[in-house]
Subunit: 146 residues, 12 copies
């Protein structure tokens, strides 16, 4: 069975130190450990990448065409501005689950619109660490159905 | 530990027969069975109600103030039009998980805005039956943390 | 041949006494009599309901799935605010004719948009009592064609 | 009793060959025959004109001031762009029934607004050939009432 | 002299427990007592109803046509979404005073627009309990003038 | 106990002669007499000023910082255009009651927005002379609570 | 000295009979007589045309390039919809005075925008017959200055 | 016969030195001389005031209620921002002619909207000095008709 | 092989004399010669028409249904206002290439929207004479592919 | 060398006492002292005025035409509403530096737009007292360059 | 003669495999071969680069200042979001031809706006492979003219 | 004392050669020299980086968390499009001064909005080289205050 590609978008490398009132003390390493644990439970393999570069994310998705079985992505700031990431998802037809740590609908208005959402299978947002693990379960389930 | 209140909004009683191209053949009974099963796994009690009436949903939420520990709601059409359900959630302070069967961001533009989202803890959308079961896991986790 | 369901939306019970400058002295009983007469001429059976409750109208439409052959509805105020009635029509696939006593496009701007129109077969508006009888003829014709 | 003027707007001469998925195979001759038949039943005389020219339609309406008793018009594309036709209707005070073959509210957004609607008595739309015949009945009824 | 109908809209039954930072500890019973006291001072009779149902409020207003002399209403969440309540007020021509506990113009933007305001005689908002008692004085005064 | 400052905005000196269909025959002197009478009943002192100058009103509010206990203001035309008066109220922290003779929400659209409302404690509008006297009662009550 | 071209736009042939509450009983012949008289006073020659056709007006302007010294135009309904007339004015560089019988800014909102205004020298509106004669004086003065 | 009040709005005292590319070298004194000359020709008396203060202009209009027979005003910058001047004109019912030296529709977008226009009888704009003299002729004519 | 219909929209007959700063000194005859030359190179026959009339263009397109193999059109001013030309293209299903001499996206904002573009195969704009010849090559290529 | 005119807009006389959370405890006297000190360092003369009146500010700028060498202005509330001050700056061609104590882009949305900015040379905002002193340095530098 | 720089924007490396319903089976290699062939015919040299990185494209354009004679660019997703690429084109003054494989005006609304278009010489869109070859011809022609 | 990080955004490497009418002949080296000189005067250390890559800038800011004491940034084109840079500033809590060479409020409308401004301490714009040196003074002052 193909792996699931996991992409952390821009600034997520700063988690834990960043805006603790919004995101809590959770670090990217803790998220990754939880993802590895859930992956095992679900019997899927995952590959995790963090990138601050829109172009790098676009390329990564493009290269995984026909290789990854699904995409779990937290596009972070690029959620609201990147047509290129949206097009990469459309172009590769990777089944995509969009996740957000915080509830983006309870934040600034410009964060209410996601350019990625219309081409994703679904979203999970607002549950912190759990947004990722529930999202991975959803991605695994979609991949299994084929 | 208090129960989790599960509310199915308007027209969800017609599921399985309704717009099969959008929602598939899934019925409300199948969702409820899956929810009961997940509830057992999570060790939580649930109470499930379907209503087509905005006022009834408002009242149900109001009556569960201090009784239910969390709310799992698919507000369906009222997602986009009901300030009253939003206010009921704010007024009762019930931790709320909003779920949608389909990806509302890939549908008509008036379905892109949720009046409930800003007062919910988080959302799960686009995964059909799994939106509910993942949402219930999220609700159980929130309730356990207190 | 299945019946045609006729629904009068909110406040239409007050017709004749209500805003005489806009709606004239016509009463709901006069409309119903005219509808019964037209139904006989067209050889169709009709069932007429008036309701002020959005949820009740949603339920009524849902219950007529597979029973009624067409829906003739004056959604009145809910024309402009009810996604739930729109969804009920989509979910039941009842061929729907939307009617209005007055010309809604010559009134306040918020009355120019109908949430029901995009899922209806067609509309008749502005002809008072005749909006209903012409609408019933249209509904009967649609039902006959199958 | 004065005649009813019937105007077919731009491109309606192409009906039957035009966008069959939207308008069906109905031709303008079939519509005109049906109108003549309905006119007889209603005991009214009609004069039918098709024009692709906004100015010609404006002039035709102007010339019928005090001659025609009512106007049945499918302004087609000019529905959404012609202030001049609207003004001609206002200026001549001809009681006007606006008809559309298709449900304009279920098409592109720029077709949702009618500049003619606010100065018409009423509209019938979405019923194909029947939009015209029902519209003619409405026009005849308005004319009879004076 | 006819009574004044007092309507509390959705979620107001939860007052005192609800969003204390916005609404304070005031309960609906305290409001009702104050209203009764003011009614006596003004020499008017009042009938008080709380409802979470839009349709119920619409019906209540409709039934009081010709019975109540004025309407004092806090439409709460329905202020911003209910064309049906607005139409009920127009249809019955009940002189209406709209009240709000909090200053709705200092809250979320979607609360800045009132569909009821244009058909009300006037509004009182922002003074907590006093919004109701001052509003009742205004309603009594309007009723006395006839 | 500190006085309550009462400010009549631009053109209110013309009342009684001005747009009688909108404002009635009420004069500013009659309003002032009624205010004096209500002030006595409430046991508060008032100081009344009328000004057509935005800057003068700004200055008057600024000078009453720490002197007046509350502000009762009908900003009239400046309601919709003056950020400066809004800032003066914020800067002085004078508890402010905004009043309008007519129901501004039933007039031209540009009168529906008040720049003052978000920094006022509350508003009373639509009751003519009574908007002022009820507003003064509200101001007195706020001042007494401190 | 070159002539001044005077163009009356669509429906102006109906003046005097048209919407008397808006335009008065003034006829196009009376306007033309007044224009001839003013032309004599100003010592200019004029040529007057009325047309209901946008294309005809475009062509007329095009043909007068280098022949007419100025253009006096009441574009009527085309004021708000014709980019083609605007382009004809730009293309021919005819100094243009735009006139309107009524005050277009006191009418429906869609009449507040003029596509012609930005390419005209100036406008005169709201003075009935005088809009034309004052406009002709302005055109003559512009032409004299070169 | 009553005088005509002429008001020059803010910054017009700087004319001739101000933005020569937009306004030319014309000075306010030259305008006033031309106005005096035209006034004589028309047999009317005029009173001319220049003010940079919105409040002063409001007051001036208010004081001329029943004294001036008409108002000729170039509101300059206040055209676009002053509800108070608009209200003063409405309140005094002075027949008003609005003039502008330049074509405001060929300038920045915020200059395209006039708050004064809807309450004026008519406007003359774009003709420099002639906007004033033609406007005065229009005002004189309106005043003579009563 | 069927001919390609070439339509020049309104005011293009004035080219070369018109707004030289925008369009250069190019005349319509020079464009036509270049088109004839390119047509020969491509081995296609062309028919060229210039019209200032929207209705005439609509009719011309309608008449070429089944006769022309492709349409090369510079709709000029009608680009932005004509739903009728758009509908004629849809109705006849003529493969259409839209051309513009200037870069419409570098001009006034109302020129940025083309009603024709969504029903055209493609556009060429900004290259002066070359917009036409490149557009003709594109049209020939589309026609050859069938 | 000519002086630099420094204008403090409305409510700035209240500084130090006003909205301490937004503006700190800084007083206008402290700003003026700092400005005098910086002026000395820069070798320029300054004249400082505070005014709450839009008209007064307009006049002050007008009178300094040809006298002052530059303008340093904190238009405060008038930043967002005064076309007149903008026009005064354009008319006098005084090189202008706009300053704000707070970061206006981090406050209410209506404070994000400055009518003055497009005609100023530059802005300094968000640095409290330093906005003024840095702004004065910029003004002095501009003036020195001529 | 300087070379023409050809830039393929993000995701174009995936062509042929990507959204075949929108873009067909065309690959980037086929486009490049066709470009080389056309370049030979036109007697120009080309350099072709594909990049998924906005910054890389910005840099590439910057480095070609004074080196390349023209730019042929398909900015793909960055068309709608990149001010930086637009600024690079403005800064280098490279004559630019913008091309698109598909007709962007017949796709999602957010693809209708191009940030690059206003600074390009012209666009070619909707002709698949031919958009590139026609665009190259246009670029060569522009470059030859100097 | 920690260093101040100075970031030049995209295309600023082209300064001096770029759009001389907007930015003058100033080069990035001249800016850097002036910054070094000012840094010495202020007694602060600076590190200067220019980057055309959004992701690179995001990373640079992230890496300076806890290392730099303040950020001086000219985000250039990314000012208007980068949520990622905004988030990097929020995440690192680096006190940030935003600078612009030109007055962005006097340029195209899409340059009037800054996504960075709401999270910056303040802005300096419009003064060319001086925007940087004044901005550095502001940054140094903020850093000293802690």
């Amino acid at each position: 069975m193909p792996k699931i590609l996991v992409i952390h978008g821009p600034n997520l490398n700063l988690l834990g130190e960043r805006e603790v009132d919004v995101y809590g003390k959770l670090t990217i390493d803790e998220i990754n450990s939880a993802l590895e644990k859930t992956a095992k439970e679900e019997g899927v393999e995952i590959e995790i990448v963090q990138s601050n570069h829109e172009g790098e994310i676009v390329e990564l998705i493009g290269k995984n065409k026909g290789k990854a079985g699904a995409l779990l992505i937290n596009p972070a700031a690029y959620t609201h501005t990147s047509v290129a990431i949206r097009d990469a998802i459309s172009a590769t037809k990777l089944p995509t689950v969009e996740v957000h740590l915080s509830n983006i609908y309870a934040r600034e208005e410009f964060r209410h619109t996601s350019l990625v959402a219309p081409v994703a299978k679904g979203q999970v947002s607002g549950f912190g660490l759990h947004s990722y693990t529930l999202g991975l379960k959803a991605a695994a389930s979609i991949m299994r159905k084929g």
